[in-house]
Amino acid sequence: MSSRKTLLTLFILLLLSPVFGVILAEGLGYHEPLDIVAEELGLSELEFTWTPFKDYAVPGLPEWLGYIICGALGVLVIVSVGFIVKALIRR
């Protein structure tokens, strides 16, 4: 697959992602097995954070839009790391 095709596929998946990650997740009361363990053992997450984008949200933006932007941001960070490694190898 060419890199243009790969990027286009990723972009389309990103646009679709809020349907699953935000809308359906809220509508169906999403939780995962780890949450069941936490309930059974009475564990709770520590209340501190180091990033404004916690849980793939952008402050001030609707959840679905923040989710897409966070997806794009994550891809950008990963692709940048790839480019840096590539440059380091060829140096």
């Binding site: 990103l14 997740a25 790839g82 060829r90």
Partner: protein, 206 residues
């Protein structure tokens, strides 16, 4: 399966962090001494990591239960081999943790160990073995994805169980991931099967 801060005891968090960082250092050293091979695979590595990151954002929630989505450890191991596969999953998990607070800072060692090391190595080994025996790409990918997620979930359960001296996490995480692993297997088998037909030269085992 991303463990948040506060779920692991300091001892378990510390030991898993030490183990994972040691292993990552060894892998980075090993890989940076083979620049030619890395140069050939770096584009695939980047696309794979970005693809796994996006795929993990597309989770299909099951009413009142959990969600179906790809974790990607087996896929990474099969496509770029175990060492780059571990680095690819580690990169995804680090970005998720550092930028989006998905998984705790104190649990990053455990999360990389479960999904990035155990998930990748199990997926890679099962795929190789199953492919050698059956010569069927889809079936091998399915088994690899299934066992990869099952073992990663079980490891997560063991870490939580050791943390709180309880057997409950293993009982919950183990069976749940045996079932969720079927979906991981279906996606892994389908993606590997598709890539093996479309661009057989990019698959790591060939």
């Amino acid at each position: 399966m991303h463990i948040p801060d506060g779920y692991l005891s300091p001892a378990v968090a510390g030991v898993t962090l030490l183990l994972t960082s040691g292993l990552l250092l060894v892998i980075i050293r090993k890989i940076s001494s083979a620049k030619d091979s890395l140069n050939k695979k770096i584009s695939l590595f980047t696309a794979l990591s970005a693809g796994i990151f996006v795929a993990q954002m597309i989770a299909w929630p099951i009413p009142g239960g959990t969600s179906l989505h790809l974790v990607g450890g087996a896929l990474a191991g099969i496509l770029v081999g175990p060492w780059l596969g571990i680095l690819s999953m580690s990169l995804v998990l680090l970005v998720q943790c550092l930028v989006f607070h998905d998984g705790g800072l104190t649990a990053i060692g455990a999360n990389i160990l479960n999904m990035g090391v155990i998930g990748v190595l199990a997926g890679y080994a099962v795929f190789k073995l199953a492919y050698r025996v059956s010569k069927k790409v889809w079936l091998s990918g399915f088994l690899a994805g299934w066992l990869s997620l099952t073992l990663a979930g079980l490891a997560c359960g063991i870490e939580l169980g050791v943390s709180w001296n309880s057997i409950i996490p293993i009982y919950v995480m183990g069976p749940w991931h045996v079932v969720l692993g079927l979906i991981e297997g279906l996606i892994t088998g389908s993606v590997v099967g598709y890539l093996a037909r479309k661009s057989p030269n990019i698959i790591g085992w060939s």
